[in-house]
């Protein structure tokens, strides 16, 4: 297996890890968004709570969720290792004048954007996931079924303007991260083909705008009580 560990420590092997975990996290975002959108339903949070209860108790979902945590960490750690290597590759002396017009901003700042997203994930997990799993969330009764009322907790946080502001800002960072990351993942996988490039690019950019936008609209809508 020496060849395999050698492969995973090569630049291209590490890039592959970042790309594959990135694509998994893109799929995760879509699923997470579908769940969150139920908060906008005018039913006192019932469908969201039933969904949240299912997600936090179902064995298969919990198994995938552990994998998801591992992939987030792997994505961040491997990207950090690559960033360190890349910084060293420039050498001790930096350019005095350097032009930026040959590449897009997001592509040059994936590390900063990723760090913002990682910090957001930590706050997000502390405020919602940890509360659901280890905290004391009030219980509601839906036709004799005891379900934890996560929606009320969400309501509480999204009534704070600063919290909504931070949330929306982080979704902006996510949008830029996806704008480059989606297309970049396919390029790294070697999936660059004239027949499909336009489709990958279009879907990637649409995803980068629509998904973070919908995520951000939820706290805004809840803050203003639409």
């Amino acid at each position: 297996m020496a060849w395999f560990t050698k492969f995973l420590s090569s630049t291209l092997g590490r890039k592959l890890l970042v790309a594959l975990t990135g694509i998994f996290l893109i799929l995760f975002l879509a699923v997470h968004l579908a769940g969150n959108l139920q908060l906008l339903k005018d039913d006192g949070g019932k469908s969201f709570n039933i969904y949240a209860e299912f997600m936090s108790t179902n064995g298969l979902v919990q198994f995938i969720s552990k994998g998801n945590f591992a992939f987030i960490l792997l994505h961040a750690v491997v990207a950090l290792l690559l960033t360190v290597k890349n910084r060293n590759a420039r050498g001790t002396e930096r350019y005095a004048v350097s032009s930026s017009k040959s590449s897009i901003w997001a592509s040059r700042n994936m590390g900063i954007l990723g760090t913002i997203i990682l910090l957001f994930i930590v706050i997000h997990l502390k405020d919602f996931w940890a509360q659901m799993h280890f905290g004391a969330v009030p219980v509601v009764d839906y036709d004799g079924k005891q379900v934890r009322d996560l929606a009320s907790l969400v309501d509480l946080w999204f009534a704070k303007a600063w919290y909504v502001g931070v949330y929306v800002f982080c979704m902006g960072a996510l949008a830029f991260h996806l704008w480059h990351g989606f297309e970049s993942a396919f390029q790294t996988l070697g999936l660059n083909h004239l027949k499909y490039n336009a489709v990958i690019s279009f879907v990637g950019r649409a995803f980068a705008i629509i998904v973070p936008l919908l995520f951000a609209l939820i706290p805004i809508a809840m803050f203003f009580d639409f």
Partner: protein, 255 residues
């Protein structure tokens, strides 16, 4: 034309360099950038000063010897080699900053001259084809579609100047390595070594200390030969399949 030049001066690879400013009052817009430096050097030699060292050879844009990071761009503001850049691309009275390629794998030898032998070692690791002895093969013996031949030729136009490394924020050599892998991967002549080529060349690229591509595509925008990042995707495919399936044979083959 008059220009102010801010040039990186460095005695040797172990010395500390710094910028030195020169006023150049005898510039014609028809001069090439290198001719402008020649005139500067003639003045410096007359004054008994050390001339500015820079790489150059064919001055026709085909050898890949010239370099220079001019005003934040490898080979200057146009998508061409420095030798094909003319002073009409600059304004009268402009301040032009000239730096060497900056990469750990390209150490400065003197002033603006960097050591690019790392590229040679990557080529030696796998950028070749087997040519066995025997009679001269017929030129059209192996059928190759024109489009494939053109695609391979486009990759082969890489002159190995290192502008991709200089332009990349990660000092990654992946555009160069991918062009060299592509020119063989596309053609039947490259088939004998195909399974090992990408693996060997990427391993050498990593060993030289080049960075990893983050798909910013700055290299493609700055490459004087317009090498496309499509080659990088091809290199990735070649590398993954190479890693998965290379070295299946048990005999050593003389190695």
């Amino acid at each position: 034309m008059k220009v102010t030049l801010k040039i990186w001066r460095q005695k040797g690879s172990n010395d500390k360099g710094s910028f030195k400013t020169y006023q150049h009052d005898h510039v014609s817009p028809d001069m090439s950038f290198l001719e402008m430096l020649d005139v500067l050097n003639t003045d410096l030699i007359k004054k008994g000063e050390d001339p500015v060292h820079f790489d150059h050879d064919c001055r026709e844009g085909i050898c890949g010897m010239c370099s220079l990071y001019i005003n934040g761009h490898p080979h200057g503001p146009l998508q061409t080699t420095t030798c094909q850049l003319h002073m009409r691309s600059f304004k009268d009275g402009e301040t032009i900053t000239i730096e060497p390629w900056r990469a750990k794998a390209f150490p400065v030898i003197k002033d603006l001259v960097v050591d690019r032998t790392a590229f040679d070692r990557i080529q030696q690791a796998g950028g070749y084809v087997s040519v066995n002895t025997g009679g001269v093969p017929d030129a059209n013996e192996i059928p190759i579609p024109k489009k494939i031949a053109d695609e391979a030729f486009d990759a082969a136009t890489c002159i190995g100047c290192g502008a991709c490394v200089a332009a990349c924020k990660n000092a990654s050599a992946m555009l160069f390595v991918s062009a060299k892998i592509s020119q063989f991967a596309l053609l039947p002549q490259g088939k004998p070594e195909r399974k090992e080529r990408a693996e060997r060349m990427v391993a050498q690229m990593d060993a030289e200390g080049f960075g990893a591509c983050t798909n910013t595509k700055a290299c493609e925008a700055e490459c004087p030969k317009g090498i496309s990042v499509t080659n990088i995707a091809r290199m990735n495919r070649e590398y993954y399949s190479s890693v998965i399936s290379s070295y299946e044979w048990q005999v050593g083959g003389g190695e």
